[in-house]
């Protein structure tokens, strides 16, 4: 059999990113610049170059590498969002990490590799490539969390994340291997087909059920939904805030890719079975996330628990098992990534050398110190709570509508009631910013590009709330 070189052009973005990551490695070694400024600039450029490669290369669904690598509309959307968000993470994190002597080549490189992992996952056409991308992302994440070596909290968070993440990956892999055993193929399209045949024939073996359960558990860990959520608050709290911003956006995007490719893709014919599982974990996430967040005094932990409940809302769209539901979930994911990035970016903006602005008291009187930043943070918090006219409202509207379309009225009512409970802890931060007197603090003086980006971020959250039509139409078009 002759060796045929596969068509490499659809994989251009990943190749660009890999090549640029190697360039960053060399730049960091030989020419880092003062406080790693050169490395930072080249890293940002590599993200932008990859973005260009993604945007201009797409001309319809294609497959290459013998079906292991596919590019479709969903993949393109996720890649574009991931790259833009990563750009933001680097931007917000630059000064924050510099103040803590953490802006090392390792941070930038590991982040780039993690993004590469996500890009590979988004384009995965087989179970193996999906797992490959996931592991590249996960291993980079574990190391990123441990970046702050001398900090006890960070090391504890890293160990927890590593052990539980490795366990989750193992369970996921076990599920995938069972699927391979049942369907004799790794290719996602073929596996879907065979699973569909089994389902139509009414042939639901216990092994299939076990595989499905393993998949749900693995995805649940990665997504951070109850009852697999225990690592999330500790990791969010312990990791440096730049890494937390990365985790809450890129890692969640990756978990969403898993959901789309495995649950809504491969296991789509078994929707009846995993829908029940998802309803259970969704309700648990809404309950746990919203109730425990009330008790938090640390903003990062509070946002971690809020993430648990937000992911519960995300799954509402998925368990509706309809194109409208998946589109609503994609919209929710994109807007959550935008809002989460801004929230953690704000914490980084307010922090100084030797001082973490991650308690609610640190937000006191922000309206007095900087009315514009307080306004942006208020918009972000109301978006997380789902209050119009912010974009978070339309995200919740979409998933609730999808759930009600499937006649799950009770679930919709439970979800909205818990969103009211959830509003309380967001309001507490707004209260601190606007109603409490400012403590004696030095003036906030972020760099110009950070201020501009935060402004753009905030305006987007509000602007997409007033004009959500384009993004909604995009999400609906890809499904």
């Amino acid at each position: 059999m002759e060796f045929m070189l596969p068509d490499l052009t659809p994989a251009l973005p990943e190749m660009v990113l890999l090549a640029m990551a190697c360039v960053v490695l060399l730049v960091d070694l030989f020419w880092p610049g003062r406080e790693r400024s050169n490395t930072y600039v080249v890293s940002q450029l590599s993200l932008l170059a990859t973005l260009l490669a993604v945007a201009q290369g797409y001309s319809g669904p294609t497959t290459t590498f013998s079906g292991h690598y596919t590019v479709d509309a969903v993949a393109v959307v996720i890649k574009v969002v991931a790259l833009l968000i990563m750009f933001g993470v680097f931007l917000y994190g630059r000064d924050y990490l510099r103040q803590r002597a953490l802006l090392t080549g390792e941070f930038l490189l590991l982040s780039l590799f993690a993004t590469l992992g996500l890009l590979v996952m988004a384009s995965a056409g087989s179970l193996l490539v999906l797992y490959l991308g996931l592991e590249v992302l996960s291993l980079s994440s574990y190391a990123l969390v441990a970046l702050h070596r001398d900090n006890g909290d960070a090391s504890e968070a890293a160990i927890k994340y590593f052990f539980l993440g490795a366990l989750a990956s193992g369970l996921l892999l076990y599920g995938m291997s069972l699927l391979y055993g049942l369907t004799a193929s790794l290719d996602l399209a073929t596996v879907t087909q065979v699973v569909g045949e089994h389902a139509r024939a009414g042939n639901f073996s216990p092994l299939m059920g076990l595989a499905l359960a393993m998949l749900v558990v693995g995805i649940g860990f990665k997504l951070g939904i109850a009852p697999f959520h225990m690592w999330l608050p500790d990791v969010y709290h312990g990791a440096p805030t730049a890494v937390t911003a990365f985790l809450t956006t890129i890692s969640k995007l990756a978990a969403f890719v898993l959901v789309v490719k495995l649950l809504a893709g491969v296991a789509a014919p078994l929707a009846q079975q995993w829908q029940q599982m998802l309803i259970l974990v969704t309700v648990l996430s809404l309950v746990v996330g919203n109730l425990v967040a009330i008790a938090q005094a640390n903003v990062k932990r509070m946002l971690a628990y809020s993430t648990i409940s937000q992911m519960g809302f995300l799954l509402l769209g998925v368990l509706a098992n309809s194109p409208a539901g998946l589109a609503a979930s994609l919209f929710y994911m994109v807007t959550y990534a935008l809002t989460g990035l801004a929230a953690f970016g704000m914490i980084m903006l307010l922090s100084r050398a030797g001082f973490e602005a991650d308690r609610i008291e640190d937000f006191r009187g922000l309206n007095r110190r900087s009315p514009w930043l307080a306004l942006v943070m208020m918009v972000i918090l109301f978006s997380l709570a789902g209050v119009p006219p912010t974009v978070g409202f339309y995200a919740k509207l979409g998933v609730i509508r999808a759930v009600m379309q499937q006649d799950l009225l009770w679930l919709a009512i439970v979800a909205v009631i818990f969103s009211v409970i959830g509003a309380f802890y967001y309001l507490r931060v707004v209260k601190a910013m606007y109603f409490d007197a400012a403590e004696e603090q030095p003036a906030i003086s972020p760099a110009l590009d950070v201020r501009v980006f935060m402004g753009v971020n905030g305006v987007l959250v509000l602007g997409l709330g007033v004009f959500p039509a384009p993004l909604l139409a995009l999400c609906q078009a890809v499904f």
Binding site: R401, M404, K431, Y434, A469
Partner: protein, 495 residues
């Protein structure tokens, strides 16, 4: 019928744009500029809403000044505005009251004036948007978005217990509203659009109507507020700054009543009839019981807050009697209460600015040092009691007449409000205003300043004009109310 100039959009977005201007141009160091700019925007807005009145066709019971554009096609949400005889009086009330609030803010607020005034202007735009909205989701967006500026206003510029009060206000109202959201989504999935007109036309069986009515009730009962979900109001009113209390009482409460007329009655007519007994009972409890609670209050603002709940009980009573007189009486009562409660809260604000106390016990004999003010407050206290000749009487009289046609006992219980109203209003007035000067602080009081005199004077004119000749307002409502009643009589079960 659409105009060449999109008046409704102008009316909605001018104050919001004005708010942004005030925030940007008149930052913290320039209170005079903030005041001037905000007052100019408020007056401009009032001028924009006047052509709505002059250009309104009173014979047409449908929507006028309609504007419609696609907004969020994915969910079939349209930017659909339009007013009829029920919405128009509220729009005029909103723009009028906002001018007064902005004018009075000159004297009472000193810190971060530009943010304060900007928040009121933004809220004005959102409130007018609510009254114009014909698309259900647009209605909901305005309904919820209003909570944000009010939350900030009470929390930043309010009294000592403001955090508790504003959180309670926000969460209570939010909880009711999300059930409204679920109901709207249900109707959307049934009809394929979010237009309230489509919701009005779709056939629904009685059990579905009842569930929808209860979901709407959750939102509107909290907003009005009805007993027993009224407990947020006294706290919010007491802790809010004067302007916040005025807007809350004069306009925000009316949105609950407007919601019943715009959503509950047209969309679930048969359920409304089925639940009318419950609604009348709750209204009478509000009128009688809350009236009695008002009688024992020591804090003036709390007393007026409870009296507001009691007056709004008349509104729901009139609405659910399902007669033209009852519904129009409810509408008149809402507008009149807007003027009177605004005036009463402004009076308390005038006194609070000077004495920094709202407790009745701290006052006594104010007439000796503030005779002009005492005269105004006499008029407003009488109007609050429902004195014939003032606007407070018209609405209550119409509702009692409508109640009489339905049942003698309902009319009798409703009529006790006239006695209770006189009791708590006049007793408060007597203790605060009449008698000998009770302490040195009262002896040092100065009478009304120019802006206070003008504002209270305008309100006095409004109260008297509406009390003596309510026809200009009533004429607006006849056609729309008749259309609504015809729709109610037909019901939906035959569809």
């Amino acid at each position: 019928m659409s105009q060449s100039l999109p008046l409704l959009s102008l009316a909605v977005w001018t104050p919001i744009a004005g708010a942004v201007l005030v925030w940007l141009l008149a930052g913290d160091g320039r209170p005079a500029r903030a005041r001037g700019l905000a007052l100019a925007v408020a007056l401009l807005e009032f001028a924009i809403t006047l052509p709505l009145y002059t250009g309104f066709d009173t014979g047409n019971g449908g929507l006028q000044f309609v504007e419609r554009a696609p907004w969020v096609e994915s969910f079939a949400i349209y930017y659909h505005l339009g007013i009829d005889g029920i919405a128009l009086p509220f729009i005029l009330l909103t723009s009028f009251i906002t001018v007064l609030v902005v004018a009075m803010a000159r004297v009472s607020v000193d810190k971060q004036l530009s943010q304060y005034l900007g928040a009121f202007l933004a809220m004005e735009g959102l409130m007018i948007g609510l009254f114009c909205a014909v698309d259900g989701m647009l209605f909901y967006v305005f309904w919820e978005a209003m909570l944000i500026p009010m939350f900030i206003i009470i929390g930043v510029w309010g009294g000592p217990n403001r955090v508790y009060a504003t959180l309670k206000f926000f969460l209570y109202t939010f909880l009711g509203s999300v059930l409204l959201l679920v109901a709207l989504i249900y109707l959307h999935l049934k009809t394929g659009s979010f237009s309230l007109l489509d919701f009005q036309r779709v056939g629904l069986d009685l059990p579905t109507q009842k569930l929808l009515f209860l979901a709407f009730l959750a939102a509107f009962a909290v907003k009005i507020p009805m007993w027993p979900v009224h407990t947020w109001l006294p706290d919010a009113h007491v802790e809010a700054p004067t302007g916040g209390s005025v807007i809350l009482a004069a306009i925000m409460l009316k949105m609950g009543g407007y919601g019943f007329l715009r959503l509950s009655l047209p969309i679930t007519p048969d359920a409304s009839m089925a639940f009318s007994g419950l609604m009348i009972t709750l209204s009478l409890i509000a009128v009688v019981y809350i009236g009695a609670v008002a009688l024992v209050q020591q804090d003036m603002k709390k007393l007026i807050a409870y009296s507001s709940i009691s007056h709004m009980g008349f509104v729901t009573l009139g609405t659910f009697l399902f007669s033209a007189q009852g519904i129009e009486g409810g509408l008149v009562q809402m507008v009149s209460h807007g003027f009177i409660s605004a005036a009463m809260f402004l009076c308390v604000g005038v006194m609070y600015d000077r004495m920094h106390s709202r407790q009745i016990a701290d006052y006594g004999g104010v007439v000796n040092t503030m005779p002009m003010f005492a005269a105004f407050m006499m008029l407003f206290a009488m109007a609050n009691s429902g004195l014939p000749g003032t606007s407070g009487f018209v609405g209550e009289f119409m509702v009692i007449l409508a109640a009489f046609e339905s049942s003698f006992w309902i009319a009798l219980l409703a009529g006790t409000s006239l006695v209770l109203g006189a009791a708590y209003n006049l007793w408060m007035y007597k203790r605060v205003i009449f008698g000998a000067v009770s302490n040195t602080k009262v002896a040092a009081l100065k009478d009304l300043k120019a802006e206070e005199f003008i504002v209270l004077g305008l309100l006095a004119v409004a109260v008297l004009a509406m009390g003596v000749w309510p026809n200009p307002m009533l004429d607006l409502t006849h056609a729309t109310v008749d259309t609504l009643l015809a729709h109610l009589q037909r019901g939906k079960l035959g569809l």
